[in-house]
Amino acid sequence: MAYSDKVVDHFSNPRNIGSFKKDDADVGTGMVGAPECGDVMKLQIKVQNDTIVDAKFKTFGCGSAIASSSLATEWLKGKTIEEAQKIKNTDIVQELNLPPVKIHCSVLAEDAIKAALTDYQKKADTQSIDTK
C-alpha cells in the first residue's frame, strides 16, 4: 500500500523536528508510545499567554507516525490551549489520508498533544499556586 503524497511530504521533510528543555516553565511535554507496534512519540509545545508559539517533535516509528506528529506540530503553532484541545485524530486521518491500518498513528499523535497540554497545564497550575 502506498503512502499518500501528504504523508510522503511530511515524512521526507518533517516539520519542527527537535526538542525544548522539558523543565522550562513555558514548555509542555507529551511522551507517548504504542505498545502494539512499538512506536514512540515525543511532542512539545512552548506557550506564551495561553497561545502555543512553537511546537517540536521527535518520533521513532513508521512514516505515518512521523507524518502525524509533524502535521500536529504545524497545526499547534498559533493555536490557543483551548483550540489545541479540539484537535482530533480524525482531523489528522483526513488531512493525511491515512489508511485504516494506520489510524492508530493519528491516535498516538492526538494522545501526544493531550499529554503535552496536560503537562503544560500542570506546570502552569503549580506556578500560580506558588505565586499566590
Binding site: G38, V40, K58
Partner: protein
C-alpha cells in the same frame, strides 16, 4: 464481562444460548464438544470460545509445547477436508472454518509472548487501568538512540566518525539485547506466578490484588519489550 441485564428480550437470549449448546443437526444437547454424541456430526467452534478452549488446553501461560502441538495435530486431523469430501456441504463448511480457527489459535498460543498478549487481552476487562503510565526514561533513550542512528546513516561509513558511531551503536545493541533477555526471564517468572495463582483458585481480595499486580507487571514488561524489540531490529538492520 457483559452485565447480566434482564430485558424483555431475555426469552430470545435464552433461546440463543440454548441454540448454541445444541447439535445443529439432531438438536440433542451439547456441552462444547466438536462432535455430537448422538449423530456424530461435526459442530462449529462456538463464537465465544477463546483459543485455549478451542484447543482444549487450560488457560495457562506455561503450556507444554509438545502437548499443545499434539492437541493441534489431533484436532487438525479431525477437521481435515479430506475426511469431509463425502459429507454434506454444511459439514464441509463447518470443518473448514473450524480448521481455520484452530490454525489461528495454535499460531497464537504456540509463541509464549503472543500467548501472554492474548491472555492479557482476555483478562483486560477484569483489571482496571491495566495500561500504566508510559516509561518516559525508556522513550527518551530510544529517541536519543535514534538520533545517533540518523547521524550514522548520514555519515561516511568508512570515516573515523562512521567507525566511532558504529561502535557506539553496537554496544547499545548489545546492552539492549541484554535488557530484553532480562525482561524475558522476568516474564517467564511471572508466567509461572500467574499459573500458580490460577491453580489455587482463591477468591480472596488478596488473591485478586496479586492477580492484578501480575497482570499489570506483565503488561509493562511486554510493552517495554516491544519498544526495545523495535529499536534493536532497527539497530541490527542499520549496522549489519
Amino acid at each position: 464481562m457483559a452485565n447480566d441485564q434482564s430485558s424483555p428480550h431475555s426469552e430470545t437470549r435464552r433461546q440463543l444460548q440454548m441454540a448454541r449448546s445444541m447439535c445443529w443437526h439432531c438438536q440433542s444437547e451439547m456441552s462444547g464438544e466438536y462432535f455430537c454424541e448422538r449423530c456424530v456430526k461435526v459442530q462449529p467452534v462456538s463464537k465465544d470460545a477463546d483459543y485455549f478452549t478451542c484447543l482444549g488446553v487450560p488457560r495457562r501461560l506455561t503450556l507444554d509445547p509438545k502437548k499443545l502441538e499434539a492437541k493441534f495435530y489431533e484436532l487438525s486431523r479431525a477437521f481435515h477436508p479430506d475426511f469431509y469430501q463425502t459429507k454434506s456441504p454444511t459439514e464441509q463448511t463447518i470443518s473448514l472454518s473450524n480448521a481455520a480457527v484452530l490454525n489461528t489459535a495454535y499460531r497464537t498460543l504456540r509463541d509464549p509472548i503472543q500467548r501472554a498478549e492474548y491472555l492479557l487481552a482476555l483478562e483486560a476487562g477484569s483489571v482496571k487501568d491495566i495500561r500504566t503510565s508510559p516509561p518516559a526514561d525508556l522513550f527518551e533513550e530510544i529517541l536519543e538512540l535514534q538520533e545517533t542512528l540518523e547521524e550514522y546513516r548520514a555519515s561516511d561509513r568508512d570515516s573515523e566518525q562512521g567507525h566511532r558511531l558504529r561502535a557506539t551503536l553496537q554496544t547499545e545493541q548489545q546492552t539492549l539485547e541484554g535488557r530484553r533477555e532480562d525482561m524475558e526471564s522476568q516474564l517467564r517468572q511471572l508466567f509461572t506466578d500467574w499459573d500458580q495463582l490460577q491453580d489455587r483458585e482463591e477468591a480472596t481480595s488478596q488473591a485478586r490484588a496479586e492477580r492484578d499486580r501480575v497482570l499489570k507487571h506483565m503488561r509493562d514488561l511486554l510493552s517495554n519489550r516491544t519498544y526495545i524489540n523495535n529499536i534493536v531490529s532497527d539497530l541490527a538492520a542499520t549496522i549489519a
